[in-house]
Amino acid sequence: MADNSNSLNRRKFLREGLWGACLGGLGTAAGLTAARNNRDNTVWQIDPNICIQCGNCATYCVLELSAVKCVQAYALCGYCDLCTGYLVPEPTALDTSAENALCPTGAIQRTFVEDPYYEYTIDEALCNGCGKCVKGCLAFGNGSLFLQVRHDRCKNCNECAIAAACPSGAFKRVPADQPYLLKGVERKQ
């Protein structure tokens, strides 16, 4: 009988010990989290200098319409009449006709400013982040167009589906209080 109660105690001791160890482990995890969190939370962003405009941003986002949009750095733009980000190669005319537009969704607006300059603005409600215009602008223009994750749309998934499919590794986690990697900002300052 005494032996029996002893073994019960041993089992109880083991159980209590394991319980304490588990709680300790969870405490360590909590402490680690608190210690590492002195920096800000992170969000996903594209480094425009690494991006190769493969087109994955348009198709891999979990949203129906990708949260990645083309962004115009106006300070870098040449305001060209023959904009290689706006027009297809060898256009029939330099105008806003659909046959000459490079953008598949018609998301770039071309407005006359003064001779011979035109302003190009992105309509984000239409842009699907395919990066065709970015490629065109980089090839022959100033590279003022580039892709960015827009945080008013991004769900900030724990693992970004586009980041997982990005062939160049341009997607990275950036601090949430500086959520953009904009081109042409350092130039103005």
Partner: protein, 433 residues
Amino acid sequence: MTRWARITAFMIVLLIPSLDALGELRFPPPEFESGYQFPQTTSPPALPAIHEYIDAAVLLAALLLATYLILKRRSRRAIFALMLFALLYFGFWRDGCICPIGAIQNVTLTIFDSSYAIPLTAGIFFVLPLVFTLFVGRTFCGAVCPLGAIQDAVLIHPVVVPRWLESGLRLMAYTYLGAAVLFAAIGNAFLICRYDPFVGFFRLSGNWNVLIIGASLLLIGLFIGRPYCRFLCPYGVLLRQMSRLSKWRVTITPNECIKCRLCEGACPFGAIREPTGDWPQGEYKIAKRRLALFLLLLPVLVAAGGWGGYTLKERLARVHPRVRTAERVYLEETGRVEGTTNASDAFRATGRTTEELYQEATAIRDRFAIGGTLLGGFLGLVVAGKLVALSVRRRRSEYEADRASCFACGRCYQYCPKERERWKKNKGVVAGR
């Protein structure tokens, strides 16, 4: 005519190497005479952090309420209502992200990558349900987890899964946990998020393959209760172990078991264990020998698993994008394949040498050799542990919910005649009789 002259002029400009004052721009930004102002590039901010703290607070409140409803109030209807709330809030409203299941990977990455800053919510979501389970059992699974809720809500005709099949299939969850930890630590991939079967339903959009997996799981879930929770959920593996040690837990009867057997078929998840007597006379000796054999087999299984995992290192390493790029670049450089891929183009655009890339890939593969061995060893240990557990007989004097497998859904309460008695008495008290 002037337009064509302008085009030609631009064509010429295109051909001239850029020699402008800025040095880098092919076309210097114009000096406008019409007083045109450069528009600002907008940068809409991310959701403020307060939303995440609200999520954490809701999680804590839901866990407290779930614990009260499951252990004190013992009302399936109230538990179901809370479960639906959790499905709507954590699922459809917050898009199922972040969840404790995925948070395993954030915690893993924090341990292995010192440059990674874990979001505070991810840490809270990982720790809180585990702590609660350590005290009161899996109340998180029963009423708070949105993935559990969506499956629980579609269960209409539960079919019994044999115990042996259940244990066997559960090995998938252990494998999933091991693989998720391995790839989060060194593989640069969050598997649990990538193959989360229900997040697509919460967002009403997503990868088609994963949506099909999710739909199949829900279809299976019509007849087999909570298939993801029982056979796949990696967080469930952790919760099981914590729940074994819990201080308090679900009891089928509110006071005493009269062994009426009414609850026997109540659990759709096969978590109710019947009372057992001692070993039958003849079997005891055989069982003892079997236990000794399995204990001896334990190190063998661990070693075999480890070796198996080691041999998989090259295949495992291929999950890492760097390794895939390195293999592709190697094939291209040695002329074994024609053409380039986006990844190899992107690598060449960085201007780094192929030797650097190969070295990096080799280092990653070495890490996978260690990681694969550990993963295999872990799985060997799980199998051996299950065999040992099967050959140990637990003594039970009444009907009990299995500590590890019980999801704390509260379905079994109403089957207990003692529980009905208690309800009647409580009603009387409320009515002021």
